[in-house]
Assembly symmetry: C2
Homo-oligomer: 182 residues x 2
């Protein structure tokens, strides 16, 4: 199969919007048939999603966070995660986000995959980690404007309910696929 | 658990960017602690992702599409899908996108879940469908600027390779979780 027949080449780009969370540029690209077209691309920092697995007398639980999401205007029950700080090691960032949002510190954490969150319009990547052997430090470390409830949920319950509220976040189902690969 | 303690209330919003594919607004919200904060939200049409399962003498295959993605600037191997046209029935839209991109017409198609693609910043939803009993019409129906290769891939191969190129699209792994729930 001639993959070359599918490839576009960017000739130029221009920033057209910028805010605290992301920027947008127009991308001027040459098609496989040599036509020039304009696409709009969103640039944001890479971030991590952490699947934290807690062994309990009642079986394996995921440590999850319930929080308000301003895009969907709803509560969402999710794996913890967050944006990398400049120059921060991805695995260190993942462990830091887990600790800040849930109070759990992982004794082992490792990368299990990465995705483009939406390669049609987004230029960044989301990195996925599995965190095990969790130590409960007993306290979150939230920003002033963060309101996050921590919940322990049976792994099977999470799997069964993905795609229905409060499991509304598509990227948490992506995380689950990588977890099930292990 | 007092969920009220997590809920923000939008007081106003203003559009700050608009292009062919999406628009952006600032959302002015009151926090659970009564502070006023500004968030940036991306609005785009809802769309469908279709998991097409083909029974073959060599076992179950997914009908997938390989195409260039302008956000990730890379090729991506994906389930077919696309944006709803105004007023279009979601299931009809899913069947139409499958037929246009792959040439396969489903004799049965049903919804298996929906997600917010990224509830932190996106207001739209992505709807997932399972398409079975596929009839090969033998021809795609692509727009002039669409370049899409169709590939049949073992379901197990897709599952094992999600999170590594060319399986780079996070929402295809979300689709897989919903497929595995069935």
């Amino acid at each position: 199969m001639n993959k070359e027949s599918l490839i576009w080449r960017e000739e130029n780009q221009k920033e057209v919007f910028n805010c605290r969370v992301f920027s947008i540029h127009e991308s001027y690209c040459r098609s496989p048939h040599d036509a020039l077209r304009t696409f709009t691309v969103l640039n944001a920092p890479d971030w991590a999603i952490v699947v934290p697995v807690l062994e309990t007398p009642q079986g394996k639980k995921f440590v999850m966070v319930r929080q308000w999401r301003h895009g969907s205007r709803s509560l969402s029950l999710e794996f913890p995660g967050g944006v990398f700080e400049p120059g921060e090691d991805p695995q260190a960032a993942a462990a830091r986000e887990l600790r800040e949002e849930t109070g759990y510190r992982p004794e082992s954490i490792r990368k299990i995959g990465e995705f483009s969150p939406n390669p049609a319009i987004m230029a960044n990547k989301v990195h996925f980690f599995l965190a095990e052997n969790l130590i409960d430090t007993g306290r979150q470390d939230l920003d002033m404007d963060e309101f996050v409830d921590v919940e322990l949920v049976d792994t099977e319950t999470v799997f069964k309910n993905m795609g229905r509220p409060p499991y509304i976040h598509a990227l948490m189902a992506s995380a689950l696929t990588l977890y099930l690969q292990q």
